[in-house]
Amino acid sequence: MNAVDATEHYEARADDPSPSLLTIILDTNPHAWATLEDSLPLATAVANLLVFIDAHLACNYANEVAVVASHTHKAAWLYPSHEQQQQQEQQQQQPHQNAPKHIRTDGDGDVAMKGETQGKAQPVNKYRPFRLVEEQVTRNLRHLLESTDLADVKASSSTMMAGALTLALSHINRRGIAWADAHGGDLDTAQEGASSTRLKDSATSTSTSSTGEGLQSRILVLSVSSSTDSAHQYIPIMNAIFACQRLHIPIDICKLRGDAVFLQQAADATRGIYMALAHPSGLLQYLLMAFLPDQRSRRHLVLPTRVDVDFRAACFCHRRVVDIGFVCSICLSIFCEPPENGDCLTCGTRLDLADYGTKPAVLARKKKKKKLRPNGAAAADTPTPVGTPGP
């Protein structure tokens, strides 16, 4: 009932440009940034990124931004950082000191840092949203890097991309709900209708601005790690990609180094922009030219698109990225080679290497099949599957 009401409001609303929420995922993998040291040190990249964020915030007074760091051992918020935000609120409400009881040590650091920056006489005339973002991002990033010890870096060389994407999506969801509450739009109908609107999009190519209303969200990933390291995150990453697809959130990829198989698929599936930078030192230029326009403007632009999309998958057994794999017909798990004993590693079903291809009988192959059947347990001893069927 509520929904019916809200949709009517929704359609009757005047067509003022809706704000956009840009969520940036910064890959802070130290291994990767170390190799980029010559062309683009992390400090420069962050400085460029901050300019880009300012540009985004300047586009519309209601534009929002969020920054997530995808580090080697965890994904963390750089902006807005919820703990500090909350603490500030608490402090404003109750000036006498009982707030730090809840919050950990960085709470104290927070206050101290603020005093410092004020002491250094930061430009007072700076637009406040710019200043807030810059302060928080740099402070939280510093905190994150300081809290990383040698063990964390040694433990893994990959990055928590799936976690960062999930956090970003949760934030987008929350902001979407908040925006809908404030503006009378109804997010639920928008979400539930997503599947049907998608259909409309594909059927009638002139999409009837189904995504035009409400808070427009998009995700930008600054990726430096190569994805073969993150093959163990294959399923969560794919889940996040499909969620974005459902919610019409494009994932833009700005690739500074390495290869990113899954991120390519992400950009392709969500109709985002994929760019591998030939010259990482020109990061700011790429950001401002390619990634600044929001979905609304993008309809009128000729976008840099990546035409070759790598659709390889990660196998479940060794986390290898494969282009020919064996798929269990029950659970669709992908294996790079037939599993031992012919038992599916995921669902445990007894599998026989069946007649894939199902072409008219080729003699050699039939023989092999017969050989396999009687001693089924030995089926997996042959590492290579049944030979290539004849032409």
Partner: protein
């Protein structure tokens, strides 16, 4: 008024839960209670919804309404997360009743138009959930079964065919037997590793058949075809028998829609891949598949499948011949080519996110805001108020916090809903932040999370 509506929503949500959760468990003990619940339509009619509303301390009912809303959300969410074996390569025939009984207006605007609209939504959702499955649509009219669209994996084909039905009027009597026989014929050639299913949207209370439908039922059983029926009017004995017999005695797949929303839920339930029963399991096999990459060429070249010149396409991973669209079988070497995204779309059925648990006030002080979205939780009240709050509906956390049992982080109800219904990831586990565990171990649970599921997998 609003609370009334809300309550109906919950009642139907409950029913949905039962349908989803119990599909795989055909047990005698539970079947009786299940049947009782299935008929549960009468329950909400006699319950007095206004009595569940209690004034809060401030004299308003807003807090109660709020918690009812939350309970509704949560109920929708608490489903069985046992990783069942599911048939993901599905072959389904959707049979629509197009007989004169469909012109009734008890479902607005008419049964006919509503079922057509939902059928379109069903097709979209079906391919969303089962990307490598096949679907066909049949209709029952004038005592005949008519073919609306052929078995195919292309949703737009079905949707245009269903759309075309809008201009026609429902007429005549339906014949279940004819429809089932035609569906059986359409499913005859499907490979044994996929499921064979029939879903009937049935608005009539009769079936005018040319022969003995019981014979048809027994052939359906021998062909391993499962039939599910959604009634629009009332329960029909033969439908229940048909569902029970073709589903191994489990008649939960027969549902009668109470209202429009319930019909929608019943239909959408079918889009979830069904659990497979071991005894019915035909030969499972390991399929060799290729995951080709998309390429674009400067000059057009002929594709191997249609011999038409085109600039782009997919190169077979084994023999590098060019194919225009996926999924397909390589015409040169016979390798099954598929987009890995097609497979990955259904993984969340196989590795479901476990339900999060409610957090009592005792442990609530650990967190002040939601881990994922940062929304503030209500502050912990003084100890003596912990138990004073009346016991709320099952599954609702008093402290508004929900905890993932793996990473021990606390989340709000919205993130709970979002994580389980949309993303299918736990933000905490994926971020590698484990509460109360020293940082040296934080990496471990994340990698072990993926490995953990195979162990839990139901291997029966």
């Amino acid at each position: 008024m609003s609370s009334d509506e809300e309550y109906i929503g919950e009642g139907t949500g409950d029913e949905e839960d039962i349908n989803v959760g119990r599909v795989g468990r055909a047990g005698d003990a539970s079947s009786r209670s299940r049947r009782k619940k299935q008929r549960g339509g009468a329950e909400w009619e006699v319950s007095r919804t206004w009595e569940t509303l209690v004034e809060g301390a401030d004299g308003t009912i807003s807090s109660t309404v709020g918690s009812l809303l939350e309970a509704g959300k949560r109920k929708r969410l608490l489903r069985d997360t046992t990783p069942l074996q599911r048939g993901i390569i599905r072959h389904l025939i959707l049979i629509l009743d197009l007989s004169q009984s469909m012109s009734e207006k008890d479902l607005r605007p008419t049964r006919y138009l509503l079922s057509l609209r939902y059928a379109k939504e069903f097709v979209v959702e079906f391919f969303e959930q089962n990307p490598i499955s096949q679907l066909g649509v049949l209709g029952l009219r004038d005592g005949l079964a008519i073919r609306i669209s052929n078995m195919s994996g292309n949703p737009t084909e079905h949707i245009t065919a269903i759309e075309a039905l809008r201009n026609q009027d429902p007429k005549g009597l339906p014949s279940l037997q004819n429809g089932l026989e035609m569906a059986r014929g359409a499913l005859f050639h499907t490979p044994s590793h996929g499921t064979r299913e029939v879903l009937i949207i049935f608005g009539s209370l009769l079936s005018s058949d040319p022969g003995d439908i019981h014979q048809t039922i027994s052939t359906l059983i021998s062909d391993k075809i499962r039939v599910g029926i959604i009634g629009l009017a009332a329960q029909v004995a033969i439908c229940r028998e048909l569902c029970a017999k073709t589903n191994g005695g489990d008649d939960t797949v027969y549902g009668v829609a109470l209202n429009e929303q319930h019909l929608h839920e019943l239909m959408m339930d079918v889009t979830t891949p069904p659990a497979t029963f071991q005894q019915k399991q035909s030969t499972s096999s390991l399929l060799m598949m290729g995951f080709p990459s998309h390429t674009v060429e400067a000059h057009p070249s002929l594709c191997a499948c249609h011999s038409k010149p085109s600039c782009g396409g997919y190169l077979c991973s084994r023999c590098s011949s060019k194919i225009c669209s996926l999924p397909a079988e390589c015409p040169a070497c016979g390798l099954t080519l598929i987009l890995s995204t097609h497979l990955a779309r259904s993984y969340h059925h196989l590795f479901p996110l476990i339900n999060w648990v409610e957090v009592p006030w005792e442990h609530a002080s650990r967190s002040a805001s939601c881990f994922a979205c940062g929304v503030n939780f209500p502050p912990v009240p003084s100890r003596d108020q912990w138990h004073s709050a009346e016991s709320q509906a099952r599954g609702v956390s008093m402290s508004s916090r929900y905890e993932c049992t793996v990473c021990k982080n606390h989340f709000c109800i919205d993130c709970d809903l979002f994580a389980h219904e949309v993303v299918h990831n736990c933000p905490g586990c994926q971020s590698g932040t484990i509460h109360q565990i020293p940082s040296a171990e934080t990496v471990e649970p994340c990698t072990s999370k993926d490995r953990q599921y195979p162990d839990q997998m139901d291997t029966t």
